[in-house]
């Protein structure tokens, strides 16, 4: 019993989510699934509950973006690169990129329907967490 308890504690520490996906509290969306977020970031979909969402990325070497791509998109950088090359032929561009978490926060504040990822500790008060990873 004690071993099981220790194991549970260990798991909660090791596998606790470090990052959050946020959007404006003005939005009526309260929660998103991993599949929905994946579709929005791959631009397969743009609307959730009639809200048009604008996906925002951090710079390509940012550790939060790398974690997001691995844990939420479940794709490595090469796969993502190949995907956007094919979309280029179809006339579709990747999500906009912000250079830092502070510019990401400013973008999320100013652009209606924008959705982005941050560290849990960086959550702005006026943003709603719709997914954790």
């Amino acid at each position: 019993m004690r071993m099981a308890f220790v194991f549970l504690i260990f798991c909660s520490v090791v596998f606790a989510s470090e990052y959050i996906i946020v959007l404006s509290q003005k939005s009526s969306i309260t929660k998103l699934s991993k599949a929905q977020i994946r579709d929005i970031y791959l631009k397969k979909r743009e609307f959730i509950q009639s809200t048009k969402l604008v996906a925002v990325n951090l710079a390509s070497q940012d550790p939060i973006r790398i974690a997001f791509e691995q844990r939420v998109l479940s794709m490595d950088r090469e796969e993502i690169n190949e995907y956007w090359i094919e979309q280029h032929y179809r006339g579709v561009r990747p999500p906009v990129t912000q250079r830092s978490t502070s510019s990401m926060k400013a973008f999320l504040n100013n652009v209606e329907g924008s959705i982005g990822y941050l560290r849990k500790a960086q959550k702005p008060n006026n943003m709603r967490v719709v997914y954790e990873f």
Partner: protein
């Protein structure tokens, strides 16, 4: 290399974001420029030639929150050297391959107006050399239905089942630019549904069109399975038509293929394809087996080689190609 440098320079002058090969030059949200080319060598009993096959330029962008556009201009058989009869031909005239305006109402309803790729299966949607795994196209892709439509299309996900995509299109005019169309029609309707599973997409489609006052109907199905190392593509299409030189007796024509691709690693792919094409009126019944190899030093650069073994010996051939997407 020169073209690559040109794109880098263009991007610098126009203040575009950093250029990456295969992603185009994004000037701003209203304009992204790109293009592609492919060269091909073919050796068969009928033909022995080398050509700069496709040269194309792409421009696309957003016009507003809901409107976007895309224009693609292409010159095919840009430069052809035929070793059999020792001739060289050039075609430096660019024609409209695609030109459309897109309106996005929601994920359930998008409208496309202009000249666009007919939404059928998988092969037809990615017809350029650099994004394919073989230099050749299966007969399926050119014999049954018009590859392009000039008209209107509605498409999106079905509201009651978002795992199903639909496309419905209509043409009621001449082609915007008939130069590179496989079947020239001025009346064309069709619909397609595609169901998405985890690694699998299955689709069904049907349509009808007029060709020289002859009425043609087709129906078909498609499948795409993709796992980490393996991709399987299979498509079937069946055409029912009345040949103008005969009585009103209906004839059948069908084509299908199944293609498997094994990814050795990021750069190396081995491909095998079996295809069959049968036209009852013209008494054609051809089987083609293909083995091919695709080397991608970078994803938007493709060097391919393939051997086609046809049941009609004259059609057996060896093909090599080199293609790049900018």
């Amino acid at each position: 290399m020169k073209v690559y440098s040109l794109f880098l320079l263009l991007g610098t002058f126009l203040g575009a974001s950093e250029y990456r090969l295969g992603h185009g030059v994004e000037i701003n949200q209203y304009l992204t420029l790109g293009g592609y080319f492919s060269t091909k060598y073919e050796n068969s009993q009928k033909t022995k030639e080398y050509m700069l096959d496709d040269v194309a330029l792409l421009a696309y962008g957003k016009l507003s929150d809901n409107f976007s556009y895309l224009i693609e201009l292409e010159a095919t058989q840009f430069w052809v050297r035929n070793f059999g009869n020792d001739t060289t031909q050039k075609n430096m005239h660019f024609h409209i391959e695609r030109a459309f305006l897109n309106y996005k109402q929601s994920d359930y309803l998008n409208l496309k107006m202009g000249k666009f790729i007919t939404p059928i299966g998988h092969w037809n949607l990615t017809p350029i050399n650099v994004l394919k795994d073989t230099t050749s196209n299966p007969k399926y892709a050119s014999e049954i239905y018009p590859k392009f439509t000039t008209g209107v299309m509605a498409y999106g996900y079905l509201p009651f089942d978002e795992s199903i995509e639909y496309s419905a299109f209509m043409q009621q005019s001449k082609d915007l630019d008939p130069n590179y169309v496989n079947i020239e029609t001025d009346e064309y309707y069709g619909v397609e549904f595609k169901k998405h599973f985890d690694n699998l997409i299955v689709g069904v489609n049907m349509g009808e069109y007029e060709l020289e006052e002859e009425h043609r109907k087709y129906f078909g199905a498609s499948l795409k399975y993709e796992a980490s190392k393996v991709q399987i593509l299979a498509e079937y299409s069946h055409l029912i038509y009345d040949h103008p030189n005969t009585s009103t007796q209906e004839h059948d024509k069908y084509a299908y293929y199944i293609q498997g691709r094994y990814k050795i690693n990021r750069k190396h792919f081995v491909i095998g394809r079996y295809e069959r094409f049968k036209d009852e009126f013209h008494s054609i019944d051809e089987e083609i087996k293909i083995i091919g190899y695709n080397y991608r030093p970078l994803y938007p650069v493709s060097l391919k080689g393939e051997y086609q073994l046809s049941s009609d010996e004259q059609n057996s051939k060896v093909l090599f190609s080199f293609s790049v997407l900018f």
